[in-house]
């Protein structure tokens, strides 16, 4: 909302004052009074100082922002940018494009050697556990992001219930292993197949819906599955979940301290970290498998049909492409990868409950795909690191409690900042970090296509 004329200081102050006033209005009474349960019902604790600090911060931020904007606008007025001549599309040079080539190898390199790096850096397998666990967490989301990318990024179908298939995979392993004693390596493909089957069952009726409606129906299905998991106590253990799920084995060799265990067989000293490192490479392998499959599929007729579907469904039908089947394959395949990830989740945790499969998880996975840039594999990986690793940083900001006083737990603000980041991302880069599309086939040199041409799908 920059004015053409250069705003003077009074203007800026008045504008910032207005912002502070709105902030004040939003603060009362939610921030101004805290409700706490007292002996005689709820009691109010006034916190007007906090409100004043908050409004002052908004005022200061707005003044600074206006000053910076004024400078930038003045500079722009002197040198008309070439972008002004064309239409207002996201035509800016793409940061991601430069990053993607190098980033791919850097990412792969770090991912492959993380346990080694972490061990050397923190001086032992035990202390490295935190980093390896974080790596496992991030890779799980990378895999889920890549799986959802097939549905949202390639086929352009907005799925807000993706976590349901993750849950199906997790419960599939948990139930099969605790009831029938099946091993992880048998359950893994079964979980994928089972999730894919659910994808088909849920997908079939809804895939003719378009846009937001599809998003809401998938959200409803996701919630239905979660509620059934909570309430069907006989099968799923209800809200208490399923515990003592068998741990992962090294292709049949358990990670135990006795002589049939992994350490003894391979002549190593027993360390509980072996299992963690194994799990790390397991999820890395699964994630890379997802990536490889997606990259290959993009060059197959089915992959091109997905992208064509995202671009124009009616034209697809006029070219003899059965849109229902094509959508269904995308949906089922995405679900299958979620199923794999789910059974990994359950073997890693050893305990699952419906708590882990809330709508928030779906939102996080979707945010990863969108922030990464729909359809871009590298972008999704970077976004997963940022979205999952970033909040972890908050845990380590202990010094903040020195600033804000005792009892300040930065971790409490994790989701709050997460929500804000989602909004900021959309305002700043709605097409994601890497918005270019690389063609699946070319006659000459493969050149990326600007995001401005690429459609985002209708359903």
């Amino acid at each position: 909302m920059a004015d053409a004329r250069t705003p003077g200081l009074p203007d800026i102050l008045r504008d910032a004052g207005l912002y502070a006033l709105v902030a004040f209005g939003l603060c009362i009474p939610i921030i101004a009074y805290r409700t706490d349960a007292g002996p005689t019902g709820l009691e109010l604790t006034p916190r007007w100082k906090l409100v004043a600090a908050f409004c002052a911060a908004i005022f200061a931020l707005r003044v600074v922002q206006r000053l910076i904007l004024a400078r930038r606008d003045a500079r722009r007025a002197l040198t008309p940018s070439p972008a002004q001549a064309t239409e207002a599309v996201q035509g800016e040079p793409d940061a991601g494009q430069r990053v993607s080539k190098l980033g791919l190898y850097a990412f792969l390199g770090v991912a492959l050697t993380l346990p080694v790096i972490a061990t050397t850096a923190s001086g032992g397998l035990g202390p490295a556990r935190y980093w390896i666990d974080l790596g496992i967490l991030i890779l799980t989301y990378v895999m889920l992001g890549w799986g959802l990318n097939i549905v949202v990024g390639l086929a352009g179908l907005l799925d807000l219930g993706y976590v349901a298939f993750y849950a199906v995979g997790a419960y599939c392993y948990a139930l099969l292993s605790t009831t029938f004693g099946l091993s992880f390596w048998i359950c893994l493909p079964l979980a994928g197949l089972f999730a894919a089957a659910w994808g088909m069952v849920l997908g079939f009726p809804v895939l003719r819906l378009r846009g937001d409606y599809l998003a809401i129906v998938t959200l409803a299905f996701g919630e239905i599955i979660r509620l059934v998991l909570i309430n069907w106590t006989d099968l799923t253990g209800g809200a208490a979940g399923i515990s003592s799920i068998p741990r992962a084995t090294f292709f049949g060799i358990p990670f135990t301290a006795d002589e049939t265990g992994f350490a003894a067989r391979f002549g190593l000293e027993f360390d509980s970290m072996h299992r963690v490192v194994f799990l790390y490479y397991l999820i890395l392998g699964l994630a890379l498998l997802t990536n490889l499959a997606t990259l290959r599929l993009r060059r197959m007729p089915i992959g091109r049909a997905w992208e064509a579907l995202r671009e124009d469904e009616i034209a697809c039908r006029s070219l003899g492409i059965d849109t229902t089947t094509t959508k269904l394959t995308a949906f089922a395949l995405g679900a299958a990868f979620a199923g794999f990830a789910g059974s990994f989740f359950s073997v890693r945790q050893g305990f699952i409950s419906p708590e882990s499969f809330t709508f928030l998880e779906s939102a996080i996975i979707l945010a990863i795909v969108v922030l990464g840039g729909m359809g871009s594999q590298v972008g999704v990986a970077i976004a997963a690191v940022a979205m999952v690793g970033g909040p972890e940083l908050l845990r380590n900001l202990g010094f903040l409690s020195a600033v804000f006083g005792e009892g300040f737990d930065p971790n409490e603000y994790r989701l709050l900042l997460f929500g804000l980041a989602m909004v900021a991302m959309m305002v700043w880069r709605p097409r994601g970090l890497i918005s270019v599309r690389v063609p699946s086939v070319s006659l000459g040199e493969r050149r990326a296509i600007s995001g401005a041409h690429v459609s985002e799908g209708h359903g």
Partner: protein, 301 residues
């Protein structure tokens, strides 16, 4: 994946082969609520001909097209498509996508529908979905990287290149389709439709928005399609220079009814057509129409 089956025995029957009608439309009626867009229309398009469907705005031409290509299900009537080998398909009974896949009717759209974010080459490959899908063993074999699929893809690219050469877009094969100029997009859409090996190609106002030079190129392209491929053409057009020069047969619609049917020369001299279409005063049109017994009552889209 839907396995490609030969024409459904229920909808297919053998017919005597000759210079037969590739498409026969019989008693086609399409109503939207109370509005009758097409009213009891019957005509035929002969194999190997370019048939033009003309008529003033709102005469129901695009509705006829949407019925033929399966986007609308007609309220009444029969749409019969005959292949050269004698198989017959009843288009009104086929699901939308099967009109192209099984009956091999391809179409273009009045407001171009390319895949703007995909390259020109990719657009032409998407059109060869059916043969490529089969060659890739419905993705399963292709994923394993078998040679059969790779050679099929090479063949598909060769076919696409031949069409790119024909429409003069070889240089721009790797550009996104959305970045092409308007005339090139029109030609690409026709080439894309041709990549599905159609028996009948339906073009919805292919010359709209083209300059005279592009229009002449289009005429040449359409003649080439008729002469060098086993494809008959059905087109909607407002540009009379295109219609009169290249069509072998013209059908005139007004208010959803057929008012004339014949060679371009016959149409040119038909008083009903002149009255209804080629520009007469409004009152005079009404007078002429009253004479030939066509009312204004049920008209539209």
């Amino acid at each position: 994946m839907t396995v490609l089956t030969p024409a459904n025995p229920k909808t297919a029957e053998k017919i005597a082969v000759g210079r037969e009608a590739v498409l026969s439309v019989a008693h086609l009626t399409m109503r939207f609520g109370g509005l009758t867009a097409v009213n009891d229309l019957s005509f035929e398009a002969k194999a190997g001909d370019i048939t033009a469907l003309i008529g003033p705005n709102g005469a129901g031409k695009t509705t006829v097209f949407n019925c033929i290509t399966g986007f609308y299900k007609p309220t009444e009537g029969m749409l019969r498509l005959a292949h050269a080998d004698g198989t017959v398909h009843l288009l009104e009974r086929l699901p939308n996508f099967a009109v192209n896949r099984t009956a091999r009717v391809a179409r273009t759209f009045q407001n171009i529908r390319l895949f703007p974010g995909m390259t020109v080459l990719e657009n032409l490959l998407v059109a060869q979905h059916k043969p490529l899908m089969r060659a890739s063993g419905f993705t399963v074999l292709g994923l394993l990287g078998l040679a059969g699929y790779r050679s099929a893809e090479r063949a598909a690219i060769e076919k696409a290149k031949a069409w790119l050469d024909r429409i003069g877009l070889m240089e721009r094969a790797d550009d996104p389709a959305g970045a092409l100029p308007y005339g090139a997009q029109r030609r690409l859409e026709i080439a894309r439709a041709m990549c599905t090996d159609p028996v009948l190609l339906c073009l919805d106002e292919p010359a709209a928005g083209l300059n005279p030079r592009e229009s002449a190129e289009l005429n040449a392209l359409l003649r080439h399609i008729r002469d060098a491929h086993d494809t008959s053409v059905l087109l909607i057009e407002h540009d009379m220079s295109v219609v009169m020069q290249i069509s072998d047969h013209v059908v005139v619609l007004d208010y959803g009814c057929k008012i004339a049917d014949g060679t371009p020369d016959e149409i040119r001299s038909d008083p009903k057509v002149i009255a209804a279409y080629l520009g007469v005063e409004d009152e005079e049109v009404e007078r002429v129409e009253a004479e030939v017994g066509i009312g204004h009552g049920e008209a539209g889209a």
